[in-house]
Symmetry: C2
Subunit: 214 residues, 2 copies
Protein backbone atom coordinates (compact mmCIF):
# COMPACT_ATOMS: atom_id res chain seq x y z
CA UNK A 1 0.00 0.00 0.00
CA UNK A 2 3.06 2.24 0.10
CA UNK A 3 2.29 3.45 -3.41
CA UNK A 4 -1.19 4.67 -2.53
CA UNK A 5 -0.30 8.24 -1.59
CA UNK A 6 -2.36 9.68 1.21
CA UNK A 7 -1.77 13.01 2.97
CA UNK A 8 -2.78 13.30 6.62
CA UNK A 9 -3.36 16.69 8.27
CA UNK A 10 -2.32 16.87 11.90
CA UNK A 11 -2.22 19.40 14.69
CA UNK A 12 0.61 19.66 17.20
CA UNK A 13 -0.23 21.64 20.32
CA UNK A 14 1.23 21.88 23.77
CA UNK A 15 2.15 24.37 26.45
CA UNK A 16 4.95 26.84 25.87
CA UNK A 17 8.13 24.99 26.86
CA UNK A 18 6.80 21.57 25.81
CA UNK A 19 9.25 21.58 22.91
CA UNK A 20 6.60 21.19 20.20
CA UNK A 21 8.47 23.56 17.87
CA UNK A 22 11.62 21.45 18.08
CA UNK A 23 9.63 18.31 17.35
CA UNK A 24 8.10 19.92 14.26
CA UNK A 25 11.55 20.92 12.99
CA UNK A 26 12.81 17.39 13.64
CA UNK A 27 9.96 15.86 11.62
CA UNK A 28 10.64 18.22 8.70
CA UNK A 29 14.34 17.41 8.88
CA UNK A 30 13.62 13.67 8.76
CA UNK A 31 11.22 13.78 5.82
CA UNK A 32 10.79 17.12 4.12
CA UNK A 33 9.32 15.43 1.06
CA UNK A 34 6.25 13.93 2.72
CA UNK A 35 5.78 16.36 5.60
CA UNK A 36 5.13 20.09 5.28
CA UNK A 37 4.33 22.84 7.76
CA UNK A 38 1.11 24.63 6.87
CA UNK A 39 1.61 28.27 5.82
CA UNK A 40 -0.77 30.53 7.76
CA UNK A 41 -2.80 33.42 6.41
CA UNK A 42 -2.69 36.85 8.06
CA UNK A 43 -4.20 40.29 7.63
CA UNK A 44 -1.09 42.08 8.86
CA UNK A 45 1.16 43.89 6.39
CA UNK A 46 4.12 41.91 5.04
CA UNK A 47 7.48 42.95 6.51
CA UNK A 48 10.42 43.63 4.20
CA UNK A 49 11.56 40.38 2.62
CA UNK A 50 8.40 38.41 3.46
CA UNK A 51 6.87 36.69 0.44
CA UNK A 52 3.20 35.87 -0.08
CA UNK A 53 2.67 32.11 0.24
CA UNK A 54 6.05 31.53 1.91
CA UNK A 55 6.08 33.15 5.36
CA UNK A 56 2.33 33.84 5.19
CA UNK A 57 -0.53 34.29 2.80
CA UNK A 58 -1.20 38.02 3.04
CA UNK A 59 -4.88 38.72 2.58
CA UNK A 60 -7.21 41.61 3.37
CA UNK A 61 -9.37 41.79 6.46
CA UNK A 62 -12.46 41.63 4.27
CA UNK A 63 -11.28 38.45 2.54
CA UNK A 64 -10.30 36.82 5.84
CA UNK A 65 -13.73 37.53 7.33
CA UNK A 66 -15.51 36.33 4.19
CA UNK A 67 -13.56 33.11 4.36
CA UNK A 68 -14.39 32.61 8.04
CA UNK A 69 -18.08 33.11 7.23
CA UNK A 70 -17.83 30.56 4.40
CA UNK A 71 -16.27 27.92 6.69
CA UNK A 72 -13.01 28.13 4.75
CA UNK A 73 -10.78 28.89 7.74
CA UNK A 74 -9.83 25.87 9.84
CA UNK A 75 -8.82 27.95 12.88
CA UNK A 76 -7.84 31.53 13.56
CA UNK A 77 -6.96 33.96 16.28
CA UNK A 78 -6.81 37.75 16.52
CA UNK A 79 -3.57 39.27 17.81
CA UNK A 80 -2.73 42.98 17.98
CA UNK A 81 -5.65 43.78 15.71
CA UNK A 82 -4.73 41.28 12.99
CA UNK A 83 -6.10 37.87 12.09
CA UNK A 84 -3.83 34.82 11.87
CA UNK A 85 -5.22 31.49 10.79
CA UNK A 86 -5.11 28.37 8.65
CA UNK A 87 -6.93 28.30 5.32
CA UNK A 88 -8.83 25.15 4.47
CA UNK A 89 -7.50 25.42 0.91
CA UNK A 90 -3.87 25.33 2.10
CA UNK A 91 -4.40 21.99 3.84
CA UNK A 92 -6.42 20.62 0.90
CA UNK A 93 -3.76 21.48 -1.67
CA UNK A 94 -1.11 19.61 0.31
CA UNK A 95 -3.10 16.53 1.37
CA UNK A 96 -4.43 16.09 -2.18
CA UNK A 97 -0.81 15.93 -3.31
CA UNK A 98 -0.23 13.16 -0.74
CA UNK A 99 1.69 15.36 1.68
CA UNK A 100 1.18 15.23 5.46
CA UNK A 101 0.44 18.73 6.76
CA UNK A 102 1.56 19.91 10.18
CA UNK A 103 -0.46 22.61 11.94
CA UNK A 104 1.43 23.97 14.95
CA UNK A 105 -1.38 25.80 16.69
CA UNK A 106 -2.88 26.71 20.06
CA UNK A 107 -4.89 24.12 21.96
CA UNK A 108 -8.17 25.96 21.46
CA UNK A 109 -7.73 25.76 17.68
CA UNK A 110 -7.30 21.99 17.43
CA UNK A 111 -10.88 20.96 17.90
CA UNK A 112 -12.02 23.63 15.52
CA UNK A 113 -9.80 22.24 12.78
CA UNK A 114 -11.28 18.81 13.19
CA UNK A 115 -14.83 20.12 12.98
CA UNK A 116 -14.06 21.24 9.41
CA UNK A 117 -11.52 18.50 8.49
CA UNK A 118 -12.61 15.35 10.35
CA UNK A 119 -9.57 13.39 9.15
CA UNK A 120 -7.23 15.63 11.19
CA UNK A 121 -5.19 13.98 13.96
CA UNK A 122 -4.62 15.97 17.15
CA UNK A 123 -1.34 15.53 19.02
CA UNK A 124 -0.69 17.04 22.41
CA UNK A 125 2.90 17.44 23.58
CA UNK A 126 3.82 17.68 27.25
CA UNK A 127 7.13 17.75 29.08
CA UNK A 128 7.80 14.78 31.44
CA UNK A 129 6.89 16.98 34.43
CA UNK A 130 6.16 20.56 35.49
CA UNK A 131 9.71 21.10 36.78
CA UNK A 132 11.14 20.37 33.34
CA UNK A 133 8.70 22.86 31.84
CA UNK A 134 9.86 25.49 34.34
CA UNK A 135 13.52 24.75 33.61
CA UNK A 136 13.00 24.97 29.85
CA UNK A 137 11.24 28.32 30.13
CA UNK A 138 14.02 29.66 32.41
CA UNK A 139 16.67 28.19 30.14
CA UNK A 140 15.58 30.42 27.30
CA UNK A 141 16.98 33.31 29.34
CA UNK A 142 14.67 35.69 27.53
CA UNK A 143 11.87 35.99 30.04
CA UNK A 144 11.36 37.46 33.50
CA UNK A 145 10.41 35.17 36.39
CA UNK A 146 7.03 36.88 36.40
CA UNK A 147 6.42 36.13 32.74
CA UNK A 148 7.46 32.52 33.28
CA UNK A 149 5.01 32.13 36.15
CA UNK A 150 2.30 33.61 33.91
CA UNK A 151 3.06 31.07 31.19
CA UNK A 152 2.96 28.24 33.71
CA UNK A 153 -0.39 29.37 35.11
CA UNK A 154 -1.74 29.55 31.59
CA UNK A 155 -0.36 26.10 30.73
CA UNK A 156 -1.99 24.65 33.84
CA UNK A 157 -5.40 25.87 32.66
CA UNK A 158 -4.98 25.15 28.96
CA UNK A 159 -3.75 21.64 29.46
CA UNK A 160 -7.22 20.45 30.51
CA UNK A 161 -8.46 21.22 27.00
CA UNK A 162 -6.21 18.42 25.78
CA UNK A 163 -8.85 15.89 26.83
CA UNK A 164 -10.33 16.00 23.33
CA UNK A 165 -6.97 15.46 21.64
CA UNK A 166 -6.25 12.08 20.05
CA UNK A 167 -2.71 11.35 21.15
CA UNK A 168 -0.36 12.28 23.95
CA UNK A 169 3.34 12.66 23.21
CA UNK A 170 5.63 13.00 26.22
CA UNK A 171 8.66 15.00 25.15
CA UNK A 172 11.41 13.64 27.39
CA UNK A 173 14.51 15.80 27.69
CA UNK A 174 17.10 15.04 25.00
CA UNK A 175 14.74 12.69 23.20
CA UNK A 176 13.36 14.94 20.44
CA UNK A 177 14.06 12.18 17.90
CA UNK A 178 11.91 9.69 19.80
CA UNK A 179 8.99 12.12 19.97
CA UNK A 180 9.27 12.86 16.23
CA UNK A 181 9.36 9.11 15.49
CA UNK A 182 6.28 8.47 17.59
CA UNK A 183 4.29 11.10 15.73
CA UNK A 184 5.48 9.95 12.31
CA UNK A 185 4.63 6.32 13.12
CA UNK A 186 1.14 7.28 14.22
CA UNK A 187 0.64 9.31 11.03
CA UNK A 188 1.84 6.38 8.90
CA UNK A 189 -0.43 3.97 10.82
CA UNK A 190 -3.36 6.27 10.06
CA UNK A 191 -2.85 5.69 6.34
CA UNK A 192 -4.11 2.13 6.78
CA UNK A 193 -7.54 3.40 7.85
CA UNK A 194 -10.31 1.57 6.01
CA UNK A 195 -11.91 4.83 4.88
CA UNK A 196 -8.96 5.48 2.57
CA UNK A 197 -9.10 2.01 1.02
CA UNK A 198 -12.62 0.71 1.04
CA UNK A 199 -12.86 1.14 -2.74
CA UNK A 200 -10.08 -1.36 -3.11
CA UNK A 201 -11.90 -3.87 -0.91
CA UNK A 202 -15.23 -3.35 -2.66
CA UNK A 203 -13.64 -3.88 -6.08
CA UNK A 204 -11.36 -6.76 -5.14
CA UNK A 205 -13.42 -9.20 -7.18
CA UNK A 206 -13.94 -6.99 -10.22
CA UNK A 207 -12.44 -8.99 -13.08
CA UNK A 208 -11.89 -6.25 -15.66
CA UNK A 209 -10.33 -3.31 -13.92
CA UNK A 210 -8.48 -4.12 -10.71
CA UNK A 211 -8.37 -1.16 -8.35
CA UNK A 212 -5.59 -0.51 -5.91
CA UNK A 213 -2.08 0.12 -7.12
CA UNK A 214 -1.76 3.53 -8.70
Amino acid sequence: MANHKIGIPFVISGPSGSGKGMIVREILKRDSENYRLSVSATTRQPRPGERDGVEYYFISRKEFEDRIAAGEVLEYTEYCGNYYGTLKSEVENLTEAGINVILEIEIVGGNNVRRIRPDTLLFFVIPPDADTLRKRLRGRGTESEESIEKRLARAEKEILLAKDYDYLIVNETDRIGAAADEIMQIVEAEKHRMRYHFDRVAHLFDPADPVGEQ
Copy 2:
Protein backbone atom coordinates in the same frame (compact mmCIF):
# COMPACT_ATOMS: atom_id res chain seq x y z
CA MET B 1 5.75 6.16 28.04
CA ALA B 2 7.13 2.71 27.26
CA ASN B 3 6.83 1.79 30.93
CA HIS B 4 3.13 2.57 31.08
CA LYS B 5 1.81 -0.89 30.22
CA ILE B 6 -1.35 -0.89 28.18
CA GLY B 7 -2.99 -3.93 26.56
CA ILE B 8 -4.93 -3.41 23.34
CA PRO B 9 -7.54 -5.93 22.15
CA PHE B 10 -7.72 -6.33 18.39
CA VAL B 11 -9.64 -8.36 15.86
CA ILE B 12 -8.11 -9.82 12.72
CA SER B 13 -10.61 -10.87 10.07
CA GLY B 14 -10.45 -11.56 6.38
CA PRO B 15 -11.66 -13.98 3.75
CA SER B 16 -10.43 -17.54 3.72
CA GLY B 17 -7.14 -17.46 1.80
CA SER B 18 -6.25 -13.92 2.93
CA GLY B 19 -3.46 -15.37 5.06
CA LYS B 20 -4.72 -13.91 8.35
CA GLY B 21 -3.76 -17.05 10.26
CA MET B 22 -0.15 -16.79 9.08
CA ILE B 23 -0.03 -13.13 10.09
CA VAL B 24 -1.28 -13.99 13.57
CA ARG B 25 1.40 -16.68 13.95
CA GLU B 26 4.03 -14.21 12.75
CA ILE B 27 2.98 -11.61 15.34
CA LEU B 28 3.14 -14.21 18.13
CA LYS B 29 6.55 -15.32 16.92
CA ARG B 30 7.85 -11.76 16.97
CA ASP B 31 6.59 -10.85 20.43
CA SER B 32 5.01 -13.67 22.42
CA GLU B 33 5.45 -11.69 25.63
CA ASN B 34 3.24 -8.75 24.73
CA TYR B 35 0.86 -10.41 22.25
CA ARG B 36 -1.42 -13.32 23.01
CA LEU B 37 -4.14 -15.12 21.03
CA SER B 38 -7.45 -15.13 22.86
CA VAL B 39 -8.59 -18.59 23.99
CA SER B 40 -12.20 -19.21 22.91
CA ALA B 41 -14.95 -20.79 24.94
CA THR B 42 -17.01 -23.67 23.56
CA THR B 43 -19.86 -25.94 24.60
CA ARG B 44 -18.51 -28.94 22.73
CA GLN B 45 -16.91 -31.81 24.60
CA PRO B 46 -13.12 -31.68 24.99
CA ARG B 47 -11.25 -34.12 22.74
CA PRO B 48 -8.56 -36.35 24.22
CA GLY B 49 -5.59 -34.24 25.24
CA GLU B 50 -7.45 -30.91 25.14
CA ARG B 51 -7.04 -28.89 28.32
CA ASP B 52 -9.52 -26.39 29.75
CA GLY B 53 -8.15 -22.87 29.32
CA VAL B 54 -5.52 -23.92 26.79
CA GLU B 55 -7.22 -25.07 23.58
CA TYR B 56 -10.60 -23.81 24.78
CA TYR B 57 -12.56 -22.95 27.86
CA PHE B 58 -15.04 -25.81 28.06
CA ILE B 59 -18.30 -24.62 29.54
CA SER B 60 -21.88 -25.90 29.60
CA ARG B 61 -24.57 -24.76 27.21
CA LYS B 62 -26.45 -23.21 30.12
CA GLU B 63 -23.43 -21.20 31.26
CA PHE B 64 -22.70 -20.03 27.70
CA GLU B 65 -26.27 -18.83 27.23
CA ASP B 66 -26.32 -17.13 30.63
CA ARG B 67 -23.14 -15.31 29.73
CA ILE B 68 -24.54 -14.20 26.38
CA ALA B 69 -27.62 -12.84 28.16
CA ALA B 70 -25.40 -10.98 30.64
CA GLY B 71 -23.39 -9.32 27.84
CA GLU B 72 -20.29 -11.26 28.88
CA VAL B 73 -19.63 -12.81 25.46
CA LEU B 74 -17.88 -10.52 22.97
CA GLU B 75 -18.89 -12.58 19.94
CA TYR B 76 -20.05 -16.12 19.27
CA THR B 77 -21.25 -18.45 16.59
CA GLU B 78 -23.07 -21.77 16.55
CA TYR B 79 -21.51 -24.60 14.58
CA CYS B 80 -22.69 -28.22 14.46
CA GLY B 81 -24.92 -27.63 17.46
CA ASN B 82 -22.20 -26.13 19.66
CA TYR B 83 -21.38 -22.57 20.65
CA TYR B 84 -17.94 -21.10 20.07
CA GLY B 85 -17.14 -17.60 21.25
CA THR B 86 -14.92 -15.11 23.06
CA LEU B 87 -15.51 -14.39 26.74
CA LYS B 88 -15.28 -10.79 27.83
CA SER B 89 -13.36 -11.95 30.93
CA GLU B 90 -10.64 -13.60 28.80
CA VAL B 91 -9.87 -10.32 27.06
CA GLU B 92 -10.08 -8.35 30.31
CA ASN B 93 -7.63 -10.60 32.14
CA LEU B 94 -5.04 -10.16 29.40
CA THR B 95 -5.43 -6.44 28.70
CA GLU B 96 -5.36 -5.64 32.41
CA ALA B 97 -1.99 -7.40 32.54
CA GLY B 98 -0.80 -5.09 29.73
CA ILE B 99 -0.97 -7.78 27.04
CA ASN B 100 -2.33 -7.14 23.54
CA VAL B 101 -5.02 -9.69 22.74
CA ILE B 102 -5.60 -11.02 19.23
CA LEU B 103 -9.07 -12.22 18.26
CA GLU B 104 -8.99 -14.11 14.98
CA ILE B 105 -12.68 -14.16 14.15
CA GLU B 106 -15.27 -13.96 11.38
CA ILE B 107 -16.14 -10.58 9.90
CA VAL B 108 -19.62 -10.57 11.38
CA GLY B 109 -18.17 -10.89 14.89
CA GLY B 110 -15.86 -7.87 14.75
CA ASN B 111 -18.42 -5.16 15.17
CA ASN B 112 -20.07 -7.08 17.97
CA VAL B 113 -16.81 -7.19 19.90
CA ARG B 114 -16.42 -3.46 19.66
CA ARG B 115 -19.95 -2.82 20.90
CA ILE B 116 -18.93 -4.45 24.20
CA ARG B 117 -15.22 -3.42 24.22
CA PRO B 118 -15.05 -0.01 22.49
CA ASP B 119 -11.24 0.07 22.70
CA THR B 120 -10.97 -2.88 20.29
CA LEU B 121 -9.20 -2.25 16.97
CA LEU B 122 -10.56 -4.03 13.90
CA PHE B 123 -8.13 -5.15 11.19
CA PHE B 124 -9.26 -6.53 7.87
CA VAL B 125 -6.79 -8.58 5.83
CA ILE B 126 -7.14 -8.98 2.07
CA PRO B 127 -4.91 -10.54 -0.58
CA PRO B 128 -3.52 -8.13 -3.22
CA ASP B 129 -6.16 -9.34 -5.71
CA ALA B 130 -8.83 -12.00 -6.27
CA ASP B 131 -6.50 -14.12 -8.43
CA THR B 132 -4.06 -14.47 -5.55
CA LEU B 133 -6.92 -15.52 -3.29
CA ARG B 134 -7.95 -18.17 -5.84
CA LYS B 135 -4.39 -19.42 -6.15
CA ARG B 136 -3.93 -19.64 -2.39
CA LEU B 137 -7.12 -21.63 -1.96
CA ARG B 138 -6.11 -23.98 -4.79
CA GLY B 139 -2.58 -24.23 -3.42
CA ARG B 140 -3.87 -25.83 -0.26
CA GLY B 141 -4.70 -28.85 -2.41
CA THR B 142 -7.31 -29.91 0.10
CA GLU B 143 -10.43 -28.59 -1.53
CA SER B 144 -12.51 -29.31 -4.61
CA GLU B 145 -12.91 -26.66 -7.29
CA GLU B 146 -16.56 -26.43 -6.26
CA SER B 147 -15.70 -25.77 -2.63
CA ILE B 148 -13.17 -23.13 -3.69
CA GLU B 149 -15.77 -21.35 -5.81
CA LYS B 150 -18.14 -21.44 -2.84
CA ARG B 151 -15.51 -19.84 -0.61
CA LEU B 152 -14.85 -17.16 -3.20
CA ALA B 153 -18.54 -16.36 -3.58
CA ARG B 154 -18.81 -16.11 0.19
CA ALA B 155 -15.72 -13.88 0.41
CA GLU B 156 -17.16 -11.58 -2.25
CA LYS B 157 -20.27 -11.02 -0.13
CA GLU B 158 -18.59 -10.90 3.28
CA ILE B 159 -15.95 -8.45 2.22
CA LEU B 160 -18.49 -5.62 2.04
CA LEU B 161 -18.97 -5.92 5.81
CA ALA B 162 -15.39 -4.71 6.20
CA LYS B 163 -16.58 -1.14 5.71
CA ASP B 164 -16.91 -0.75 9.48
CA TYR B 165 -13.44 -2.09 10.17
CA ASP B 166 -10.73 0.35 11.26
CA TYR B 167 -7.74 -0.70 9.21
CA LEU B 168 -7.00 -2.48 5.97
CA ILE B 169 -3.94 -4.70 5.72
CA VAL B 170 -3.03 -5.91 2.24
CA ASN B 171 -1.26 -9.22 2.61
CA GLU B 172 1.10 -9.23 -0.36
CA THR B 173 2.50 -12.61 -1.33
CA ASP B 174 5.73 -13.46 0.52
CA ARG B 175 5.42 -10.39 2.72
CA ILE B 176 3.91 -11.83 5.89
CA GLY B 177 6.54 -10.00 7.94
CA ALA B 178 5.50 -6.64 6.52
CA ALA B 179 1.83 -7.27 7.30
CA ALA B 180 2.68 -8.32 10.87
CA ASP B 181 4.83 -5.19 11.30
CA GLU B 182 2.04 -2.95 10.05
CA ILE B 183 -0.42 -4.36 12.55
CA MET B 184 2.05 -4.23 15.44
CA GLN B 185 2.95 -0.61 14.63
CA ILE B 186 -0.71 0.40 14.56
CA VAL B 187 -1.28 -1.35 17.91
CA GLU B 188 1.75 0.43 19.42
CA ALA B 189 0.56 3.78 18.02
CA GLU B 190 -2.80 3.20 19.68
CA LYS B 191 -1.11 3.18 23.08
CA HIS B 192 -0.48 6.91 22.74
CA ARG B 193 -4.23 7.61 22.72
CA MET B 194 -5.10 10.42 25.07
CA ARG B 195 -7.77 8.33 26.82
CA TYR B 196 -5.03 6.14 28.32
CA HIS B 197 -3.00 9.10 29.57
CA PHE B 198 -5.27 11.99 30.41
CA ASP B 199 -4.66 11.45 34.14
CA ARG B 200 -1.02 12.20 33.56
CA VAL B 201 -1.86 15.43 31.75
CA ALA B 202 -4.41 16.52 34.36
CA HIS B 203 -1.92 15.95 37.19
CA LEU B 204 1.15 17.37 35.48
CA PHE B 205 1.20 20.37 37.79
CA ASP B 206 0.50 18.52 41.03
CA PRO B 207 3.47 19.33 43.24
CA ALA B 208 3.32 16.50 45.79
CA ASP B 209 2.70 13.30 43.91
CA PRO B 210 3.83 13.36 40.29
CA VAL B 211 1.81 10.93 38.17
CA GLY B 212 3.19 9.15 35.17
CA GLU B 213 6.03 6.66 35.42
CA GLN B 214 4.92 3.49 37.11
